[in-house]
């Protein structure tokens, strides 16, 4: 089966009912997307399917066929997505295991809503657990990234015109 991940086409040879998570981790050796619960309850495996956040552990590979899939490895080329920069600036991660999923949920939020309120942040991030307790820093980093994000969007638009 063909999968389009981070702009590249990959061939995977797995059963149709295989969750995308295991195709990514086992077959394609892309281990940035993490296994946390296998039941859509923790968000550690959050990826984007056609720009929307999805839990890779609950997405059968058959459902991902033909879709544009983005994983943490494709969030930016060099780790300079505004959220990644804000994560570094606020020193967000502790153990770091949930952070791929946190970043992917946050990135989908900002892509769809560049000026989220605190409530909207809570709501968008409510599916992502962090046992280390980095919630206050995640929230601060998202709020901080909003400014960079909007500034860089603005620049891009102006550059395009």
């Amino acid at each position: 089966m063909e999968l389009t991940i981070n702009g590249k086409v990959h061939q995977v040879d797995v059963d149709d009912d295989t969750p995308l998570l295991w195709a990514l981790r086992d077959e394609l050796k892309m281990t940035g997307t993490k296994f946390g619960c296998g039941a859509g309850l923790c968000g550690a495996c959050t990826i984007h399917i056609n720009g929307n956040p999805a839990r890779a552990c609950l997405t059968p590979i058959a459902a991902a066929k033909g879709a544009k899939i983005t994983t943490i490895e494709g969030l930016s080329d060099t780790g300079d997505h505004p959220l990644q920069q804000a994560w570094v600036k606020h020193n967000v991660p502790q153990c770091g295991y949930c952070q791929s999923g946190q970043l992917m949920s946050a990135a989908a939020l900002l892509a769809n809503n560049p000026t989220p309120s605190e409530k909207e942040i809570d709501s968008a991030m409510s599916g992502n657990l962090c046992r280390c307790g980095t919630y206050p820093r995640i929230k601060a980093a998202i709020q901080d990234a909003v400014h960079y994000y909007n500034a860089s969007e603005q620049q891009e638009k102006q550059g395009g015109e």
Partner: protein
Amino acid sequence: MTDNTNAISLVDRRRFLKLAGVSSSGLILGATLPNFQPAWADIAGTAAKDKSAAPLNLFVSIAKDNTVSIVCHRSEMGQGIRTGLPQVVADELEADWDLVEVVQGLGDKRYGNQNTDGSRSIRNFYTTMRTMGASARTMLEQAAAQLWSVPASECQARKHRVHHSASNRSASFGELAELAATQKVPAEDTLVLKTPTNFNYIGKPVATYDTPAIVQGKGVFGQDVILEDMLIASIERAPVLGSKVAAVDDSAARKISGVVAIENMDGGIEPPLFHPLAGVAVIATNTWAAMKARRALDIEWTDTSHASHDSAPFIETLKQRVQQPGKVVTKYGDVASSLASAAYKHSATYSVPYLAHASMEPPSATAVVKDDHCEIWACVQVPQATQQHVANALGLTPEQIKVNVTLLGGGFGRKSKPDFAVEAALLAKKMQRPVKVVWSREDDIRHDYFHAAAASHFESAMDDDGQVTGWQQRTAFPTISGTFANGVEHPSNGELSLGFADIPFDIPHRQCETAPAEYEARIGWLRSVSNIQNAFAVCSFADELAHLRNRKPDEFLLELIGEDRHIDPNQGDFEYGNHGASLKDFPLDTARLKQVLAVTAAKADLTQKGDHVQKAGEGWGIAVHRSFLSYVGIATKVAVENGRVAIKEMHCVADVGLAVNPDRVESQMEGSMVFGMSLALMGGINMEKGAVTNSNFHDYPLLRMQQSPKMSVTLMGTEHAPAGVGEPGVPPVAPSITNAIFAACGERIRDLPVNKHLQLV
């Protein structure tokens, strides 16, 4: 140290090169590091990759390209130790942090203790790391002195170069590396450590070393290890302690494509130690096939004596037992007569359920076994215990087991038990191929080494003036000792040293007792261990007394603590653990506790004189507790409305002594507040017929972002020696919440979790 340094070094370098392709961890060799003493090693092979690095001691090597490699021999699980310890070395070494490469140390007894637990990496290795850095710095200065034919005393290392100011010469560390490696290792007593005013990194919020990799999904955790030709194992384990496989029908499972083998795992051993549980392992070419086939297994388990264990009635039984006379641990004055003659008496019984660690990364280990050698990659807190237990299981020696420690996706004590690494080793031996054992979330929650369910009972006597004159306390919980020996029913001195027999109150008549509790499930350390139930009970009971006597809780607590003094809780057979430190170096200091209490109380708007409700439905609660040699206070504001409770604010005040990396100390306190909220509000493992009924985050919930309140962290006492950080923030959280709930609505919650009594917003 030895005459044949070069010979040994060469042999080691060859071995290193052979292994270098396998792991980014360098081969670590050097002299013995007994306990916490520095190794005056003149050999080591911490060199990274194929750079020609010059090892200066067990922890430091410098390459010609100027890279300084510093070994972190402790496990990183989010506490920031891969930054904190190297940052101390780099400071004394006068290295430029931007040129530092952190190398994860293998399991090796030459490092001394590598058990990353007990909140002790910094406090036990701070001086060692400084000494390592100073030793390497001195050797670089000696090398420069030799190069320029000047006295070493005139050469000074500064920011990755050695300078000779009289002749205006300088050389980089890289240029001096090879010559430095030939220098005589300085004797410990000749080393001059930096004065704190000259620190470059110690006490500064150095950015976490692994963060740039983590935000790009490049961190390698136990679950992420991939080896050539590797198989994946998923194991269905015995649901009840002591149970074994009686019969298995694996015909359906074998039909699933990708399945390579199905193997019975021996087990059912008691005491459980770190042995794998009995079970049936499905080994497949991919994780999904292994998990799917496992669900198709039909297994019959043998009966065990633990199959009648139901946790809810068990906790009720413990609560009954702690209300009866027990076994005396310590005794001051005459409690019985103080209670008999009291003007006022009060008693209360508290309970905390079994709890699971639920680190975001479920346990995982990968192993390769060839002849008389085994190599493991695993997210373990205890690389040397992993060597030992894998060696025992394979019939090898610990030296034949190489343990690579990956990043840990959380540990909290679960990954101190390397049962999952033993599983991987046994299966890799059977398959004669690399095998990764992947634990699922359900496996993690059902087959944990649980925090013990606990009951505590307190009785107090007060005189006419409201002074507490008598204090009786009793506890019962299945002891961690039961994991290592059969038939132990009373807590160990170590457990009783965690906020039970060391209560810092000045009460003339006091008695501490224990009651028995059966061991029915694997029990282990969970972040702050028995301090959880002890701080909850003690800080709740003190708050109850304050309100009964119409006193402000903080003023009442100040009186209970009494004069500034150092307390020695040792008495009779009770030997106080003091978290492994001497009372001389780390006294139980009431002055520090009172200072933390005062700052904590100032964060809160505490209830006056029994007036429970400040503003309709809102209330503040505080709690202070000393553990892991640190003093932490929590002030919490809650709102209770129509039987629903929300945490509105939480403030942490922590005296952990010198904070080597204040940003990571703050993050640990933030994390401790979240961890404490999860356990206080919604934590609880339930067992029926000996088996855990919870399975995943829907029925073992953790705090989510929208429930996480505004928080602050205040650090104080930084003039003291560094003390514990990872755990001491947890214990006071639960009682600060339940005390706040009482202040808000008058409901006293004595049985955790809170959501058994009030709904959570």
